[in-house]
C-alpha cells in the first residue's frame, strides 16, 4: 500500500493555489483606511501642485496682508486661511510647507524607524556581545545631546533638508531601537523561535519572517506617531539653523514662528496643527487597517 490515506479522507486537490486577496485590495475595502489613503493622496497632490493651486507665492508678503498696526488677518475671502505675521497667505504656506513636512515625516521618520528596528531587533535577537554592543551604542546615542550635534552640524554644513532628515533619523532611531529590543528579546524566548532554530533557519530568516511580523503593530505605532514628532522636531532644528531657513515654510516652523501668537491669531497655529494631525491620523488609519489585515486572529472580523 503506497498510499495510506483511506478513501474517506477528502482527496487533496493537487495544488490549491487559490490566490490570496491582495493586501491592497483588502485595504481599500475598509472605509477608514480609504479615508486615510485619500488624505495622504490629497496632501501629496497639494504639495506637488501647490503653484497651481494658489494665486500667491509662498513668501510673498502682501501689503494688504497686515493691518496698519501690523496684525495678521483672520481667514477671509481673499486669504482663505488668513495671513501670517508678515502678511503672507497661510494657505499657500501650508501647501508649500507640505513639501518639507512630508519629506521629514516620511523619509526622516522612515529612516529612523528602519535603523531603530534593525538595531533593536538584531540586538534583541542575538543578545550576547553583539546585542550588548549595539544596545550600549544605543544608550550612548540616547544620552548624547542631540541639540548640540544639531548645532555643530549646522555650523559645519550648509543647512539643508537632508541634514535635518539625517539629524532627525539620528535622534529618533534610538528610541525605536530600545522598544524593539525589549520586544524582540521577549519574542526570541518563545517556543516557535526555538522550533525555527531546530529547522536550521538562518538568523536572517527568523528575524525577517518570524520576528518582524510580530513587531509590525509596534512599528506602525512608532511610525505613525513619529510623523507628528518629527515634523515638529524639524521646526526645532530649523530654529537652530540646520533646517530649512526662512522664508521656506514647513508645517512645523509655521507653528513654531507663531505659537506665541496663538491667542492673538489662533489660525496661525490651528491650521498647520490640523495639517500635521491629519497626516499623522491618515497614516495611522492606514496602519491600523494594515495591522488588522496582517493579524490572523482578526480574520473573520466583519
Amino acid at each position: 500500500m503506497a498510499n495510506p490515506v483511506t478513501p474517506d479522507f477528502p482527496a487533496a486537490s493537487a495544488s490549491p493555489a487559490r490566490p490570496r486577496p491582495g493586501i491592497w485590495r483588502r485595504l481599500v475595502r475598509r472605509p477608514l483606511a480609504l479615508i486615510g489613503l485619500v488624505i495622504i493622496a490629497v496632501t501629496l497632490l497639494g504639495a506637488a501642485f501647490a503653484p497651481w493651486l494658489t494665486a500667491f507665492g509662498p513668501d510673498e508678503q502682501m501689503f494688504d496682508g497686515l493691518t496698519l498696526s501690523g496684525e495678521p488677518l483672520p481667514p477671509n475671502t481673499t486669504f482663505w486661511l488668513g495671513t501670517d505675521l508678515l502678511g503672507r497667505d497661510l494657505l499657500t504656506r501650508i501647501l508649500y510647507g507640505a513639501r518639507t513636512s512630508l519629506f521629514i515625516g516620511i523619509i526622516a521618520n522612515g529612516t529612523a524607524l528602519l535603523i531603530g528596528t534593525l538595531v533593536g531587533v538584531t540586538a534583541g535577537y542575538f543578545r550576547g556581545w553583539i546585542g550588548s554592543a549595539l544596545m550600549r551604542f544605543t544608550d550612548l546615542m540616547m544620552a548624547f545631546p542631540a541639540l548640540l550635534l544639531a548645532i555643530c552640524l549646522a555650523a559645519v554644513f550648509q543647512p539643508s533638508l537632508w541634514i535635518v532628515a539625517m539629524v532627525i533619523a539620528l535622534v529618533n532611531w534610538v528610541q525605536t531601537a530600545r522598544v524593539m529590543f525589549t520586544q524582540t528579546s521577549s519574542l526570541t524566548e518563545r517556543e516557535f523561535i526555538a522550533a525555527e532554530k531546530t529547522l536550521g533557519a538562518s538568523s536572517a530568516r527568523i528575524l525577517l519572517r518570524h520576528i518582524l511580523p510580530h513587531l509590525i503593530p509596534t512599528i506602525i505605532v512608532w511610525g505613525t506617531l513619529g510623523i507628528s514628532t518629527t515634523v515638529l522636531l524639524e521646526a526645532t532644528l530649523s530654529y537652530l539653523g540646520i533646517g530649512v531657513q526662512p522664508p521656506t515654510p514647513s508645517w512645523g516652523n509655521i507653528i513654531f514662528e507663531n505659537q506665541t501668537y496663538f491667542q492673538a491669531a489662533p489660525w496661525l497655529v490651528f491650521f498647520p496643527g490640523v495639517a500635521i494631525l491629519a497626516l499623522a491620523l491618515a497614516f495611522n488609519l492606514v496602519g491600523d487597517a494594515l495591522r488588522d489585515i496582517l493579524d490572523p486572529t482578526q480574520r473573520g472580523r466583519s
Binding site: 498510499n3 495510506p4 490515506v5 483511506t6 479522507f9 477528502p10 482527496a11 487533496a12 486537490s13 493537487a14 495544488s15 490549491p16 493555489a17 487559490r18 490570496r20 486577496p21 524566548e189 518563545r190 517556543e191 516557535f192 526555538a194 522550533a195 525555527e196 532554530k197 531546530t198 529547522l199 536550521g200 533557519a201 538562518s202 530568516r205 519572517r209 518570524h210 511580523p213 510580530h214 496582517l294 493579524d295 490572523p296 486572529t297 482578526q298 480574520r299 473573520g300 472580523r301 466583519s302
Partner: protein, 603 residues
C-alpha cells in the same frame, strides 16, 4: 432520596451514579466560524444532556468540534471568528447561549470549570503558577491569602507535582508539559465546580500519573456530585471513566450511548473504525523481533553520551543560585538508522529536556553526536547541515508554530530553508504531506489558531517530515490525535522509516503506542535512564520496579475490565530539584543479557 434534593446537596454523601435531572442540556447547538471565504459550520445541530454526577466522554475525530463545543458552553469561543449560530445551552434554568458576560462570570470557574487542551499557551507566561492557582481559588471562595495558598499547595500535591510548595513560585516555561497540564487540572479541581469540562486532560501525563488524576476526578465526583465532560482520544480512559459516550465526526454527533453499549455494540461504521484502531498492549509483538537491529552498530544516527542538563533556580534578594534542577543527569544512548527508540517515563523526568538538548536548544554537558559529528566544535554551516538531519516535533504544537504564518508556509519552510525544490514543487509536496497526515490541502491557507489541537499536531508532524531528516524527535506527537488518525500517522511514520531509513526518538506516555511502534525502549526516571532494551525485553521482562508500575498502570480499552480503584500513592513525590552541592547519585546500568540494561541496584 429524591433527585431534586440530591441536586442541591452537594455534599460528600452525594451519590456517584447518574441521576435523572440533567445539569446541562445542550440542544441544537450550531457553531460557525468565519474565514476568508465566508462562514462555515464546525459544529452542527448538536444536542446532548449531562446528568448530575455523570461522566460524559466525547470522543471522535480530531477537528470534529469537541473543543469548540466545550468552549461554547463556557461562552469562550474565539472572537471574532467563531460564534454560536443557533441552539441553546440550558444550565441551572438559564440559557447560557444568551447570557451576558457579567452573568457568565459568576458561572465560569464557580459552577462550570474547564481544563483546556493546550496547557502551554493556556497558562499566563508571566505569572507564577502559584499566583494563577491562588487567584482561581480566591475568586470563588472567601479564603484568606494564606489559606488559599495552602489550598493551592494541596491541589498541586493532589495532582502529584513534586515540591509543590516551591513550584508555586515557578513560571509555566519552567515546568514540563505534564506539569503544566496538571497545574491546569489542579486549578479546575480546586474550584469544585458543578460541571467540569476536561479537554484532553491527561494527554501529557504518564500512565501512573494519569491514573492518579483520573482517580482524583472520580473522587471529586463522588464527593461533590460533579458532572464531568471528558474529551479524550484515549479509549482506555473512556473505558475507564465514562458513563456515557458521544462520538463526534465532522461537527456532528455520530453516535451516543452507554459506554458499555458503544464498546460492545457500536452501531455506526465510524465508531467501529475508531474502536478497531485503538492500539492495544501486546499487539506490538506482532511486528516481529526480526527487525531488531544488531546492537551497538557503529554508524549510529545519534549518539548521546553522559548528557547532563541542569537548570539553576535562583532565590533570595540577590538572585543567587540556591537550587538546581537536575533535569537530565548522565543519560547515554544510541539511535541507529531505521530504528525507533522510545523514551518513556514519568512526567517531568527530563524527556523533553533530553530531546531539546539533541535539537540543540538547551545548553548541556556531555556529548551529542549526530551522524558521527559531535555538536561541540561544529561551524555554523556544519551545524545547519546537522540540523537538517535532526527534526523535532515539539510537545506543545501551538506554541511551536509561528501564529502569524499560514500553516502551508510553515510546513514548506524547512524545504525553503534548505533550498529544496521550486515554489510550486514545495507546494505540491506540502499538499501531499497534508494529505498523508490527514489534513486537507485547502487548510494550507489557514493560520495555526484556526486549527484544533490534533490538527496542529499533524501540522507539526508534516513539518518535521518535510525534510526527510535522518532523525526525528517526536515529543508526545500523537497524543492529541484520535485513534484512527493516530493509527494512520503511526503507519505513515513506519512507512517513511522503511522508505528512507529515518530513525525516531519517540517520546510518549501512551504505552500501547510505544509498544506498537518502538524497536527499543528507554525508561527514564528522575533524569536518568533506569532501564533500556528492545521492546520485547522491556515489555516482556520489565526489571525495574518503575517500569513494571508503568506497564501495570496502562488503562485497558474495555469498560468491562474497568479497574475499581487506582492505588493512590501516598509516598513522598520524588523530585529532581536539589539544593546546591547536593548532587544526585549516578545510577550504573548493568547488562542483564542481550543488551537489556537495568539499573545495577535493581537487578
Amino acid at each position: 432520596m429524591n433527585p431534586g434534593a440530591a441536586a442541591n446537596a452537594a455534599g460528600p454523601s452525594a451519590v456517584a451514579s447518574a441521576t435523572a435531572a440533567p445539569v446541562l442540556d445542550v440542544s441544537g447547538l450550531t457553531i460557525t466560524v468565519r474565514g476568508e471565504e465566508g462562514e462555515r459550520e464546525v459544529v452542527s445541530d448538536l444536542s446532548f444532556t449531562l446528568a448530575r454526577g455523570e461522566t460524559l466522554c466525547i470522543a471522535g475525530e480530531s477537528g470534529s468540534g469537541k473543543s469548540m463545543t466545550s468552549l461554547a458552553v463556557m461562552r469562550l469561543l474565539p472572537k471574532p471568528a467563531a460564534r454560536i449560530a443557533s441552539g441553546a445551552i440550558g444550565f441551572a434554568g438559564k440559557d447560557l447561549a444568551g447570557l451576558d458576560e457579567r452573568a457568565m462570570q459568576a458561572i465560569r470557574g464557580n459552577r462550570i470549570a474547564m481544563i483546556f487542551q493546550e496547557p502551554m499557551t493556556s497558562l499566563n507566561p508571566v505569572l507564577s503558577i502559584g499566583r494563577q492557582l491562588i487567584e482561581a481559588i480566591e475568586t470563588h471562595t472567601d479564603l484568606s491569602r494564606r489559606e488559599a495558598r495552602q489550598h493551592a499547595v494541596e491541589a498541586l500535591k493532589a495532582v502529584r507535582i513534586p515540591e509543590a510548595e516551591s513550584r508555586l513560585g515557578q513560571y509555566p516555561h519552567e515546568l514540563s508539559g505534564g506539569m503544566r497540564q496538571r497545574v491546569m487540572i489542579a486549578m479546575a479541581l480546586a474550584l469544585q465546580p458543578d460541571v467540569l469540562i476536561a479537554d484532553e486532560p491527561t494527554t501529557a501525563l504518564d500512565v501512573t500519573v494519569q491514573g492518579e488524576v483520573l482517580e482524583l476526578l472520580r473522587d471529586l465526583q463522588r464527593r461533590h456530585g460533579t458532572s464531568i465532560i471528558l474529551i479524550t482520544h484515549d479509549m482506555g480512559v473512556v473505558a475507564e471513566m465514562a458513563d456515557r459516550v458521544i462520538v463526534m465526526r465532522n461537527g456532528r454527533m455520530v453516535e451516543q450511548g452507554k459506554v458499555g453499549d458503544i464498546f460492545e455494540a457500536p452501531t455506526q461504521a465510524y465508531t467501529r473504525e475508531l474502536l478497531a484502531a485503538v492500539p492495544r498492549m501486546g499487539t506490538g509483538a506482532a511486528r516481529g523481533e526480526a527487525e531488531a537491529p544488531a546492537p551497538a552498530a557503529p554508524d549510529a544516527v545519534a549518539s548521546v553520551r553522559d548528557l547532563t542538563v541542569r537548570f539553576d533556580r535562583h532565590g533570595g534578594f540577590l538572585g543567587r543560585v540556591t537550587h538546581r534542577v537536575h533535569a537530565v543527569e548522565g543519560v547515554s544512548f544510541d539511535i541507529r538508522p531505521n530504528e525507533t527508540l522510545a523514551l518513556v517515563g514519568e512526567s517531568g523526568c527530563g524527556k523533553s529536556t533530553t530531546a531539546k538538548a539533541i535539537a540543540g536548544l538547551v545548553p548541556f554537558t556531555g556529548s551529542i553526536a549526530v551522524n558521527g559529528r559531535d555538536f561541540a566544535g561544529l561551524s555554523r554551516e556544519a551545524l545547519k547541515a546537522v540540523k537538517r538531519d535532526v527534526q523535532m516535533i515539539f510537545q506543545d504544537p501551538y506554541a511551536s508554530l509561528d501564529p502569524r504564518m499560514r500553516v502551508g508556509d510553515l510546513v514548506a519552510e524547512p524545504m525553503l530553508i534548505h533550498g529544496i525544490g521550486s515554489a510550486a514543487e514545495r507546494r505540491e509536496r506540502v499538499a501531499a504531506l497534508f494529505e498523508r497526515v490527514g489534513l486537507r490541502a485547502d487548510q494550507m491557507e489557514l493560520y495555526p489558531h484556526e486549527f484544533s489541537g490534533g490538527q496542529r499536531q499533524r501540522v507539526c508532524i508534516a513539518r518535521a517530515l518535510a525534510l526527510r531528516p535522518k532523525l526525528i524527535i517526536a515529543d508526545e506527537s500523537v497524543s492529541a490525535l484520535d485513534v484512527s488518525v493516530q493509527a494512520r500517522v503511526l503507519e505513515l511514520l513506519k512507512e517513511l522509516q522503511q522508505e528512507f531509513g529515518i530513525a525516531y526518538l519517540f517520546i510518549s506516555h501512551d504505552m500501547a503506542v510505544v509498544e506498537n511502534i518502538s524497536d527499543r525502549v528507554a525508561v527514564m526516571y528522575l533524569g536518568q535512564i533506569v532501564e533500556m532494551g528492545t521492546r520485547a525485553q522491556v515489555f516482556g521482562d520489565p526489571r525495574h520496579p518503575y517500569t513494571r508500575r508503568l506497564i501495570e498502570a496502562v488503562p485497558i480499552p474495555d469498560p468491562a475490565r474497568r479497574r475499581g480503584n487506582f492505588a493512590r500513592l501516598v509516598s513522598e513525590i520524588p523530585s529532581v530539584t536539589r539544593p546546591l552541592g547536593n548532587e544526585p547519585q549516578r545510577l550504573r546500568l548493568a547488562d542483564v543479557g542481550d543488551g537489556h540494561l537495568v539499573v545495577a541496584e535493581a537487578v
